[in-house]
Point group: C2
Amino acid sequence: MGASKLNIYNKGTTDLAIIAKVFSHPARVAILQYISKQDSCICNDIVDEIGLSQSTISQHLKVINDAGLLKGTYKGKSHCYCINIERFQEFQTLLNSFFNQTKSNCC
Amino acid sequence: MGASKLNIYNKGTTDLAIIAKVFSHPARVAILQYISKQDSCICNDIVDEIGLSQSTISQHLKVINDAGLLKGTYKGKSHCYCINIERFQEFQTLLNSFFNQTKSNCC
DNA sequence: TTTTATTATCGTAATATTGCAATATTACGA
DNA sequence: TCGTAATATTGCAATATTACGATAATAAAA
């Protein structure tokens, strides 16, 4: 971007944007939907499911993980990703409080 | 992006991503927060408030508006923007149903 | 230890986003 | 109509994102 001014906003504003960014690409939404449907998850399944390359999926998983939305343990050869429900709920709370503060007062 | 594959996802997935994208930049979150606090809103006020140039703010407003999140009427010389609450609630509903379907079953 | 399966990282190309200055457009008031 | 204030658009530069193939790293199995 043209010198992204990311330091002029307050923390709540930036936080909301950071988490929203995770959801701003359909691949990541699809990955999250898929993971949340599974009992456990192997990354290779995601590749077959979504239709992107392994490296691309891996990068998207990194973005999701960096936002704190995943938990994971190792399980045999494959990693087991799952949703970090607590972090999810933080996001939901942040959004809901944003919505609750939002009014339509004109027009 | 490297040939963004936007046609391989189902509609609900894409919809969520499109609306999330509006919130994925703090400038837009700040604009929405500011508008929702006002009884009515004049764009020039936003410019003073957020700290970006008039043309940049105008472009962000266009992104927000294209997603259907604004309503507006003309009021004197200035445009009056306000939040399209109905559309906002659609977004909230979409997110909530996403969260409700989300489980943490492993780890 | 070597092989194999799985996931992460690197390099690179294509595309998208962000931001601003300059300019155009729009609508009101004199 | 002309001037003025407010908003939109255009053109450009800087940066970020997305995607993939190739390759590296890791851990279990042979």
